[in-house]
Subunit: 186 residues, 2 copies
DNA sequence: AAAAGGTGTCTAATTTTTAGACGTTTTGCA
DNA sequence: TGCAAAACGTCTAAAAATTAGACACCTTTT
């Protein structure tokens, strides 16, 4: 009945859309561009994070690869976190992968809490980097029908109400009768 | 039109449902029980985590407070992580708050990734503990109508398709026409 | 320039949701 | 224990939404 397929398959895309790479090291940008050109249709790069939002309103970006340390000598990752949050506030659907100079667990926690999709540590392994980026996009592109979302939310809500259907229906903003219908169907 | 209110208000509940506390230290369980009795309708305690699942199938649990170190001398938190994952596999809607003997960042990351709702470190501050538990439940009980979930998912999907409505409708499993209707309404 | 795909709009048949009602069962509490 | 309130399951008829299909008109790709 409901026709499911992978977005990538559906659109007959061989590549993974547009990636934006933000890093203040021009050499890294060049290396990234070279590395990712096969995988992505468009590879955009930015040395200065201040332009991220402007660029993202002009261009449709599928994934962002964001360096965590911009100002030389400041390695706390604060600026990276700031830009991560700024991006996610404006574009909550766009996954952001973080690039850290070394494994910083506390930064990892903050990054996760701020909605980063994944981490990559410098120096990076090319294959691993490409694999992680692909994974993030594949995961995001998993198709979820409206029915599925609806069913899942209904299940959760009933769970929260400990099985009280009258209350669940009220919380869901639908009639009890409608809830019965949907449960019968889904 | 859609009537929204907090579940707690709605049900005229003065207390926060049923909490399950799992810790192998009986003294801690006693202290917890005394501390949380005012806040929760039922305070259940378990010394042995092996019984968690059985108990949760019998009782309807609103939140779990889980110690991370059970076997004396083993402080890696592995057993706590195992039980966290086990609980979340069976009861994805039930929030689990972790109790750690000391601030272990790497354990925090793993716990977050495994779906823990929050962390509390031993020794704990009573007020902070109660506040955190309340916060978790309040957050979970935020009411989300079916319409809202639908609207949000539609927005996401259209975003993913970069504005292609025909494709979005197909992925959502609805007619293009229906998508137009819903967009006009929502 | 042709082909393919997307948009916006329409119709008519079908399905779903709604408000409201009813008697029964369960739950909370005095 | 027993009463009252709440939840359940089922029904109706009116209102609303969804569906498949069609059409002319843009864009993009080739």
């Amino acid at each position: 009945m409901i026709f499911r397929q992978n977005l990538r398959t559906f659109a007959a895309m061989s590549k993974y859309g547009t990636i934006l790479i933000v890093d203040d090291n021009a050499a890294i940008l060049t290396a990234m561009r070279y590395l990712l050109d096969d995988t992505f249709e468009n590879v955009l790069t930015l040395e200065c994070p201040d332009d991220i939002l402007k660029l993202m309103t002009q261009q449709s970006i599928d994934i962002v690869l964001l360096d965590m340390n911009f100002t030389l000598g400041v390695n706390s990752g604060q600026e990276g976190l700031f830009w991560l949050r700024t991006i996610r506030k404006q574009h909550p659907e766009t996954p952001v992968v973080l690039l850290t100079a070394y494994a910083d667990v506390s930064l990892a926690v903050k990054g996760l809490k701020s909605g980063a999709a994944d981490f990559i540590t410098k120096p990076w392994d090319n294959d691993e980097l490409v694999r992680k980026l692909k994974d993030v996009l594949d995961m995001q592109n998993e198709i979820v029908s409206l029915d599925e979302v609806e069913r899942e939310h209904i299940r959760r809500t009933i769970d929260r109400c400990h099985g009280n259907l009258t209350q669940a229906a009220e919380l869901l903003g639908i009639t009890r009768q409608t809830l019965y219908n949907k449960m019968k169907r889904l």
